[in-house]
Symmetry: C2
Subunit: 131 residues, 2 copies
């Protein structure tokens, strides 16, 4: 399975679920996960086989609920865009009323990442248990 | 079923599918549909019953495929944000390499709609058959 290098940069690979590999983005202002379905040559959701579509919505839901329960964000933002990196990937992002982009999307033209301090990232990753 | 007024403004109500009411946004630069699941008091995807989640991904797929086949966009963008209007709604947007926001998201802080001319909108709506 080939995963586009641009999906890996600035992210930490966490685990594989039934359909998707789960990444955690090194971005301290939001809680940002990415699901990458492990099926080659898929760009749009409708190209997934029907069972994989159902796995995808299930994994989006489980991950969203995890983010809500664990980090108490005010809103979950889910997005599958892919204008820059076409390989199908779905963002699941916990947003906060006091984050600097609220209430707008984080997909702003002038977005650039603000990483965690390394020790904070390592400490946080130790507490993330996705099964 | 109550649908937030802000989801109606600038949109045309097209039809009801099994789960969702389908709206078409009066925005001439992209092909922009919105699905609103007809289940009260739902903000996040994970709050939908499991069967409704499966209906949702199916409706996202069918609508995305329709947009791709009918309008030949370069990419479909799918998003469930809801920071401003919390009622669960999913955007399905056909994007074009020559649209003014490409390759960025259309969820920009400075976004404001650019409606169709009325005659063009009416003519277009006559050609949209979602069953």
């Amino acid at each position: 399975m080939i995963i586009d290098e641009r999906l890996r940069v600035g992210s930490i690979e966490l685990c594989d679920w039934k359909l998707s590999r789960i990444f955690f983005k090194n971005e301290s202002r939001f809680i940002w996960f990415t699901l990458v379905p492990l099926i080659n040559d898929t760009v749009e959701i409708y190209q997934l086989p029907q069972e994989a579509q159902q796995d995808l919505i299930h994994e989006i839901s489980v991950l969203s609920k995890y983010v809500k329960d664990r980090f108490q964000p005010d809103k979950i933002n889910v997005g599958a865009l892919g204008n820059i990196v076409p390989q199908l990937h779905v963002h699941v992002i916990g947003r906060f009323r006091n984050d600097p982009f609220w209430p707008h999307s984080i997909w702003q033209e002038n977005y650039s990442p603000e990483p965690y301090q390394e020790s904070a990232l390592l400490a946080l990753l130790k507490t993330i248990h996705l099964g």
